[in-house]
């Protein structure tokens, strides 16, 4: 198969649009050939995940592009950075590490991007619309854009998203194309009580199961008794994109490309059908906890970044209460969401409760936790999935209410009622 480039693509490749566009287009063309694309297509938005500071190679890549005068050609949001720009000194972030992370932030900002510093760009005003062709990095953002909004992006890695943003082009492959968006695997929820489906902790658990069941094929979930909200779908997608490579799921009667089962499969038969039972979900929930120790050092919420609606939900849960002095309670979010929450008056009760707020970054990408913090609790399956490998910490998964109650008690307490029946 031969890749056919437009005149403008050829110009960029030849350097007529500057050396940065040349470098970006050369990587883009090489990857388009590898992935068997017949052509490139126009995108009208991008989200750059490469902002996360990992080490010198990622920084050198960013600074190479920046020094070549790179400018994005479509509206482009930025993912979390390596540090909370204005508050990192309150944590255990080494200053030389912070300097490097700051350089990486500067490099990406110099390209004319929008410094959103969030892993949840769908919570910003740059949220894409149904059918929009975009190039997004960050696995939870990708699965949300495709599944919940119906925008179209492939599962793009770091370093590639910025090449798309600079050139305004992406390979015409995968989930950009209608025919590749059909469901393949039908999963029927079997006798899952409505009371559990209403509960927030159902979604990360379902997502964790989904990622393992689907790997990289497109799953279709049928049998929902209620209509989940966006934050529940966010938690589901983030979990499925962690335990598996899910970049698009359909939920019959709920997500935009799945008004019916037939629509979800684009009229084709499922390649495979199976049930999701309570036993499977209980097992998935157990896998998200890595200790049977009741010790608790810190509660972490906001992976992906806490939304305004989540602040609204948390505020009354903590109002008039105080967390135990031996437990830290951290919420991670974006500047925009934190500001909205502040304006709406949701942050006061959090502060009185003893909660801390961090913006711009993610606890998984910044060395902010001191060593003595070992036992963490979270309501995020994504965080529970990655924290043992990335942070070498012991994790307990629980609902938002479990997290609050545990912080007050000073030890891990979980309400098992919904999971027992």
């Amino acid at each position: 198969m031969t890749l056919i480039l437009s005149d403008r693509d050829h110009e960029m490749q030849a350097g007529a649009h500057g050396p940065a566009a040349k470098m970006a287009m050369s990587i883009l063309v090489r990857m388009a050939e590898i992935s068997g694309a017949k052509e490139l297509l126009d995108i009208s938005g991008a989200h750059i995940d490469s902002t996360v500071y990992i080490g010198d190679a990622g920084l050198e890549f960013a600074e190479r592009l920046a020094s070549l005068g790179a400018k994005v050609s479509v509206p482009t949001t930025l993912n979390v950075s390596g540090l909370d720009e204005h508050h990192w000194k309150e944590w255990a972030v080494p200053s030389d590490w912070a300097r490097q992370a700051q350089r990486q932030m500067t490099a990406y900002q110099s390209m004319g991007t929008i410094p959103t510093w969030t892993c949840a760009p769908y919570q910003t005003e740059m949220r894409p619309v149904f059918g929009q062709q975009i190039a997004w990095g960050e696995s939870n953002a990708i699965v949300f854009a495709n599944s919940v909004i119906g925008a179209r992006t492939e599962r793009y890695p770091d370093l590639f998203d910025v090449c798309c943003a600079i050139t305004g082009r992406a390979p015409a492959i995968g989930l950009h194309l209608t025919e590749n968006r059909a469901g393949k695997l039908l999963l029927n929820l079997k006798e899952i009580p409505e009371a559990l489906q209403v509960s927030d902790d159902f979604y990360p658990v379902l997502g964790h199961f989904l990622g393992k069941a689907a790997h990289d094929v497109i799953p279709v979930i049928a049998g929902m008794k209620i209509i989940p909200n966006e934050d529940q779908l966010k938690a589901l997608g983030a979990a499925a994109a962690s335990s598996g490579a899910v970049a698009l799921f359909h939920m019959v009667g709920i997500t935009p490309e799945a008004p019916t089962i037939e629509a979800a499969f684009q009229g084709n038969k499922p390649q495979e059908t199976s049930n999701i039972t309570m036993d499977m979900l209980r097992q998935a929930r157990r896998e998200l906890t890595h200790t049977d120790n009741a010790r608790l050092d810190m509660v972490v919420l906001g992976s992906p970044h806490f939304s305004q609606a989540e602040f609204k939900k948390l505020a009354p849960l903590v109002a008039g209460k105080k967390k135990s002095a031996r437990v830290k309670f951290l919420v991670t979010s974006s500047r925009a969401m934190a500001q909205l929450a502040q304006q709406a008056g949701f942050l006061e009760s959090l502060q009185e409760f003893g909660a801390q707020l961090t913006v711009d970054t993610c606890i998984l990408t910044t060395p902010m936790l001191p060593k003595e913090i070992e036992f963490l609790m979270t309501n995020s399956a994504k965080f529970a999935y990655y924290a043992p490998g990335l942070l070498d910490k012991k994790i307990t998964f629980g609902s938002l209410v479990d997290c609050v109650n545990s912080a007050i008690a000073g030890d891990i307490v979980r309400d098992e009622t919904l999971w027992e029946s």
């Binding site: 990708i142 599962r155 890695p157 590639f160 994109a241 962690s242 990655y386």
Partner: protein
């Protein structure tokens, strides 16, 4: 001794030889690979605790995080990366790391895609040699 000769597709062509580290489970490098040492750190992965530096990593595809490419690029720069990777399909994340490493450091690595059937024949400990055309030989010392 057993010798296998397999026909692979060179997603990124090149020559490499090394000891195979094989799993049929996909791997995320973010939270799964310590680029400072080359150790596989995903505690749920069958290869957890093994070191892939200088080895030929054989996994079907990448899982999860879009940061896998960036972590692999760090490993290439630090000299802790596998010398080649074998997958079941042209894995975009691995391929990009090789392409960018070529662009930045002139250090691309071979990436070979095998059929599911051929992939299933490889075992950890096999001595693998990858040719420019994507074909490879795998030598196994019989367990006595």
């Amino acid at each position: 001794m057993g010798i296998l000769v397999l026909t692979g597709r060179p997603v990124i062509a090149g020559r490499a030889s090394g000891i195979a580290l094989v799993s049929d489970q996909p791997l995320s490098f973010w939270g799964g690979y310590d680029w400072k040492s080359g150790e596989i750190t995903d505690r749920r992965h069958p290869l957890s605790g093994m070191n892939a530096k200088g080895k030929i990593l054989v996994v079907p595809f990448t899982r999860g995080s879009s940061t896998t490419t960036a972590v692999l690029l760090e490993a290439i720069r630090a000299g802790t990366a596998p010398v080649a990777i074998i997958t079941t399909a042209a894995d975009f994340f691995f391929a990009l790391a090789s392409v960018v490493a070529g662009e930045l450091y002139e250090k691309s690595f071979p990436l070979i895609a095998l059929s599911d059937l051929d992939f299933g024949l490889l075992r950890t400990g096999d001595q693998i040699e990858i040719m420019e055309d994507g074909n490879l030989t795998s030598i196994r010392k019989e367990v006595t």
